[in-house]
């Protein structure tokens, strides 16, 4: 799943470690999420949404299916 975590983090001038501390997870978790290799759990996604004060849909983009639609639709 694509995400805009890195952009939101940089907009606040936070390091990966600072974001990890806010969320209570390891820095490696932030690295993996930003690279798109690890989809966070729902509670962690809600925490990210809370930390960045924006809806989850703004942070994560669902992958497109064969008709070019988001899987969630």
């Amino acid at each position: 799943m694509d995400n805009h975590i890195a952009a939101h983090r940089r907009a606040r001038e936070w390091s990966q470690q600072q974001l990890a501390d806010h969320l209570g997870v390891s820095r490696q978790t932030i690295i993996s999420i930003e690279k798109g290799r690890y989809d966070p759990s729902l509670p962690l996604a809600f925490k990210l949404s809370s930390v960045f004060s924006c809806p989850i849909e703004e942070l994560f983009t669902p992958p497109l299916d064969s008709q070019g639609l988001g899987v969630s639709k």
Binding site: D21, L23, V25
Partner: protein
Amino acid sequence: MGVGMDIEAMPAISLGRSKFGGETWQLICGACASGVLSSVLLWWLLTVIVHVDRPAWVWFLCAAATIPFASVGVWAILVDRSTLVGSVRDPESSVEYVWHSKAASSAFTDTLLLLLVAVLVFFVADFQINSALLLLLVFLFMLIDFTIRKLVTKRALS
């Protein structure tokens, strides 16, 4: 929602606190007492089951040697990881937890398959093997398989 406020949560301690509450010294005392008890019980059971003719002091020595390992094992089970120095507050949401879970799950499936194949081979070929050696081989297989699985998962998700 003030998630940032949680950063100044309870201070981390080198030996941590128990999942069930209480101070560090209570956790350490509990772990040591359980370590002594489980070691003595283990070696007493072995003396009953194995019937090897050894003087009592040998068994006491063996029990004494396993106490530290048993105590550390009990501590690892009882400690609340979020109270340890350098730990994260929410380890279950971290990617490392996923590495571990996936590796454990895959290693379990691999072991089941190995045992199935081994049962078939042993049954068809009427193969005989020492049970202690068999258990050791299965244990080593699980250990190596888990390690490889974890490294592969780590590489894929990081």
